[in-house]
C-alpha cells in the first residue's frame, strides 16, 4: 500500500499556500480591525468544518450536534474569562461580590462547585479539550458499539444539541441563561477587548487553525484515513477484514468534537461572549452546511466554505435581511442537488484541469503526476 509520500500533493500544496497567504498576509493588511475580528469569528467555524470533513466526509458519520462541542469548548473558556472579570473589586456593587453577575441576579450566594476549578488557566485549557472529547467518547461509544449509525445517529446528536440548549437556558443561575456569558474582559490580566489584542488573537487563531489542518492532513494520509474511507464505502467489508469499525468511528467523532471545541474556545476569546444560540440545532446544522458548501471531502474547501458562507451571511443580512434565509435555503438545496462535492468539487472539475494543462504543457507530453484524490472513485 503506497501512500503519497509527500505531505501535500501539488494541488493541495497550492491550496495550502493560497490559504496561508490570504489568512496571514492579505486579510490582515487589507481589512480594518472590525472586519478582521469578523473573519476571526468566521474562522472559529472553520475549526468545526475541519472536524466535519474528518467525521462526515471521510468517516461518513453525519453529526448534527457539533454545536454541542463548539458550545462546551466555548463555555469552558468563557467560564474562565468570566471568573476573571468578576473579581471582588469589579463586582463590589453586587450583594455577593466575587461571583459572576448573572449568579448574583439569580440569588446564588456562593460559587457553585463545578465553577471552582475554572480559576486555573491550565485546567481550563485541559477542560476545553477533555470535556467535549470525553462527552463525544461517551456518545460515540454508546452509539457505535451498538452499530447505530446514519440517520439515527444524526437525529440523536440533534436531540443532544436540543437538550444542552434547553439545559443552558433553563439553569440561568449557573450558566447565564439565554443571554449567555457576556462582558468578558481579560485573560490573565491581559485585556482582550482593544484593537491590538484582537489582531494578536486573530493570529493565534490562524496558527491554531493551521496546526489543526496539519493534524487532519496527517490523519488523512495515514492508514487511518484510508480505513475511514473504506468504512464509509463498505462498512461490512472493513469489519470482516478484522478492523473494529466502532473504534475508528469513535476516533473520528472525538477528533471532530475536539476541533469544534477549540473553535468554540477561540470564539469566546475573539467575540467576547458565549451564548446558547451557538449551541442548538440551528447553528449545528449551519455548521454542517459550511462543510457541505466548501466540499465535505476537502480540508481546504471546508475552510473556504466556512469563511465564504459566513461572509455572505453577514453582507446579505446587513443589506437584505429578508433575502438571507431564502438564499441560505436555496444554497442548501443547490449544494445537495447540483454539486454534492461543494466548491472544492467544482474547483476540481473545472479549474484544476486547466491549471494542470497549463503546467503539463511545459513538461514532457503524456506524463502527469496526478495522484488519485482520496474518496474519488478511480476511473
Amino acid at each position: 500500500m503506497v501512500i503519497n509520500s509527500r505531505f501535500f500533493n501539488r494541488s493541495e500544496l497550492m491550496g495550502f499556500l493560497v490559504l496561508a497567504a490570504v489568512l496571514f498576509v492579505i486579510l490582515p493588511l487589507s481589512l480594518d480591525v472590525f472586519r478582521l475580528n469578523l473573519v476571526a469569528k468566521y474562522l472559529t467555524y472553520a475549526f468545526v468544518a475541519l472536524g466535519l470533513v474528518l467525521c462526515w466526509g471521510y468517516g461518513g458519520i453525519l453529526s448534527l450536534g457539533q454545536g454541542v462541542f463548539f458550545g462546551l469548548g466555548g463555555y469552558c473558556m468563557a467560564m474562565f474569562l468570566k471568573l476573571e472579570a468578576s473579581s471582588v473589586e469589579n463586582t463590589k456593587i453586587q450583594s455577593t461580590p466575587g461571583i459572576p453577575d448573572f449568579m448574583d441576579w439569580n440569588q446564588i450566594t456562593s460559587l457553585p462547585l463545578f465553577w471552582q476549578p475554572f480559576h486555573s488557566l491550565t485546567f481550563t485549557i485541559l477542560a476545553i479539550i477533555l470535556v467535549p472529547g470525553i462527552f463525544a467518547l461517551i456518545i460515540g461509544t454508546a452509539m457505535f458499539k451498538r452499530r447505530v449509525g446514519g440517520t439515527y445517529f444524526a437525529i440523536i446528536t440533534q436531540a443532544v444539541a436540543a437538550i444542552l440548549t434547553i439545559l443552558i437556558v433553563g439553569q440561568q443561575g449557573y450558566t447565564g441563561g439565554i443571554n449567555g456569558m457576556t462582558d468578558l474582559r481579560t485573560l490573565k490580566g491581559w485585556d482582550i477587548r482593544p484593537d491590538h489584542a484582537k489582531v494578536i488573537l486573530y493570529f493565534v487563531e490562524v496558527v491554531l487553525l493551521f496546526a489543526c489542518i496539519g493534524i487532519a492532513q496527517f490523519i488523512r494520509l495515514t492508514k487511518l484515513g484510508r480505513i475511514l474511507v473504506a468504512m464509509r464505502e463498505q462498512e461490512d467489508r472493513v469489519r470482516f477484514s478484522g478492523y473494529s469499525v466502532a473504534n475508528f468511528k469513535i476516533f473520528a467523532f472525538c477528533m471532530a468534537a475536539v476541533f469544534a471545541a477549540i473553535g468554540g474556545a477561540m470564539f469566546a476569546l475573539n467575540v467576547g461572549f458565549m451564548s446558547p444560540s451557538f449551541v442548538g440545532i440551528v447553528p449545528s446544522i449551519e455548521m454542517v452546511i459550511y462543510t457541505a458548501v466548501g466540499g465535505r471531502m476537502s480540508i481546504f474547501g471546508a475552510i473556504w466554505g466556512a469563511i465564504l458562507v459566513n461572509f455572505a451571511k453577514t453582507s446579505l443580512s446587513e443589506s437584505f435581511p429578508q433575502l438571507w434565509l431564502f438564499g441560505l435555503g436555496a444554497l442548501f438545496i443547490a449544494v445537495v442537488l447540483a454539486f454534492p462535492n461543494g466548491l472544492s468539487g467544482l474547483w476540481a472539475d473545472y479549474v484544476q484541469p486547466r491549471i494542470d494543462r497549463l503546467f503539463a504543457s511545459r513538461k514532457k507530453p503524456g506524463w502527469s503526476d496526478n495522484s488519485v484524490a482520496d474518496g474519488a472513485p478511480a476511473e
Binding site: L62, L64, A142, M143, R146, R147, V148, G150, T151, Y152, A154, I155, I156, Q158, A159, V160, A162, I163, I166, L167, V169, G170, I281, V282, I285, V288, I289, A292, Q322, L325, F326, L328, G329, A330, L331, F332, I333, V335, V336, L337, P340
Partner: protein
C-alpha cells in the same frame, strides 16, 4: 416533592396533568403520524415537516378570518372546512416538493435532511414575509370554549377533548389506509422491495408521491388542530421537529403502534414532571431518558423484524 399535597390533591394533580399530557400527546401523534409515514416508510428525513404543519395552521387561521368577516352565521362550523383545506394545501405542497426535490434523493437519506432543512428555512421566511413575524391566534367558536367539570377539583377543557377525538379519528383512518386498503398495500410493497413492486406493475413513483403528500397532509391537519391550543408563528414548527423525530425513532421507525406508544409515554412523562419541576428541566429529563433508552435499545420500542 410530594410532601405538601394530600392524597386527594395528588390524585387530581395527576389527572389534570395527565389530561394536559393527553393534549400534548395528541399533537405529538398527529405530527408523528405524518413523519412516521415519510421517515418510517419512505426513509426520507423531512426536516421541513414542522413547516408543513404550520402551513396547515395558517390555512386554518385564514379560513377562520374569512368566516368571521363573510359568513359569521356559519362560524361555529368553520373548523371542519379549515381542516380539509389544511390537508389539501399541505398535501399539495408536499407532492410538489416530492416532485421537485425529494425524488432525486431517495438513495441519499442524509442529503434529504440537508435539502429539506433548506426548504424549511425558505418556507419560514415565506411565512414571515406573507403573514408577518408576529404569532397569530385563531378565534375559537363559542362551543369550543369553556371546560367540563368532572369533579370539584378536576376540569377538562373542551377544545382539548375535541383535539383528542380528532386524533383518534385520524389515527384510525391512517391505520385503515395503510393496513387495509389496496393503496396501503402498494405503499408497503414499495417500501419492502422497490424493484419487485415495480416488476408486478405498481407505479412506484406515483406511490412515492402520494405517500409523501399524505404524510404532509396529515401534518397540515396537525397544524390545524394545533391552532386550537396555541398560537402560530413562522418558527413554531421548528420547536416541535426534534421532539417529533424522537417520538418516531423511539417508537421504532416502521411501526405505527410504536409511534403512538412512544408519543404517549413521552408526553405523559413530560407533563407529569412539568408540575413538579420547572418546564425546562422536565423537558431535559424526558429527552435524556429517551436518548438513554435509545442508546440501550437503538431499534426503538416496537421494532419490525425485517430480513435485510
Amino acid at each position: 416533592m410530594f410532601g405538601d399535597y394530600s392524597l386527594g390533591d395528588l390524585g387530581s394533580i395527576f389527572v389534570m396533568q395527565g389530561f394536559a399530557g393527553l393534549i400534548l400527546f395528541s399533537v405529538y401523534v398527529l405530527m408523528a403520524l405524518g413523519l412516521a409515514i415519510i421517515f418510517g416508510q419512505m426513509g426520507v428525513i423531512n426536516m421541513a415537516h414542522g413547516e408543513f404543519m404550520i402551513l396547515g395552521a395558517y390555512v386554518t387561521w385564514m379560513t377562520s378570518n374569512f368566516f368571521q368577516s363573510y359568513l359569521p352565521s356559519l362560524f361555529s362550523g368553520y373548523f371542519f372546512l379549515a381542516m380539509i383545506l389544511a390537508f389539501v394545501a399541505s398535501g399539495a405542497l408536499g407532492m410538489l416538493v416530492e416532485w421537485v426535490l425529494i425524488r432525486h434523493l431517495y438513495k441519499r437519506p442524509l442529503d434529504t435532511l440537508l435539502a429539506t432543512w433548506g426548504l424549511s428555512l425558505m418556507l419560514q421566511q415565506a411565512y414571515r414575509s406573507v403573514f408577518g413575524a408576529r404569532e397569530v391566534g385563531v378565534e375559537l367558536p363559542q362551543w369550543m370554549l369553556g371546560s367540563l367539570h368532572v369533579t370539584d377539583s378536576i376540569e377538562v377543557p373542551i377544545n382539548g377533548v375535541f383535539v383528542m377525538c380528532l386524533t383518534v379519528l385520524i389515527t384510525v383512518g391512517v391505520a385503515y389506509v395503510m393496513y387495509k386498503s389496496r393503496w396501503g398495500r402498494q405503499v408497503r410493497a414499495v417500501v419492502q422491495n422497490r424493484i419487485m413492486a415495480g416488476a408486478v406493475g405498481i407505479n412506484t413513483e406515483k406511490v412515492d408521491r402520494y405517500t409523501f403528500g399524505l404524510g404532509c397532509g396529515i401534518a397540515g391537519v396537525a397544524g390545524s388542530a394545533f391552532t386550537m391550543i396555541g398560537s402560530t408563528g413562522p418558527t413554531s414548527g421548528q420547536l416541535y421537529i426534534v421532539d417529533t423525530f424522537l417520538v418516531v425513532v423511539f417508537g421504532g421507525a416502521a411501526s405505527l403502534l410504536g409511534t403512538i406508544a412512544s408519543a404517549f409515554s413521552i408526553s405523559q412523562t413530560q407533563s407529569t414532571l412539568e408540575f413538579f419541576l420547572s418546564g425546562s428541566m422536565a423537558k431535559v429529563l424526558t429527552l435524556l431518558a429517551v436518548v438513554g433508552i435509545l442508546m440501550l435499545r437503538p431499534q426503538g420500542l416496537f421494532a419490525l423484524k425485517v430480513r435485510k
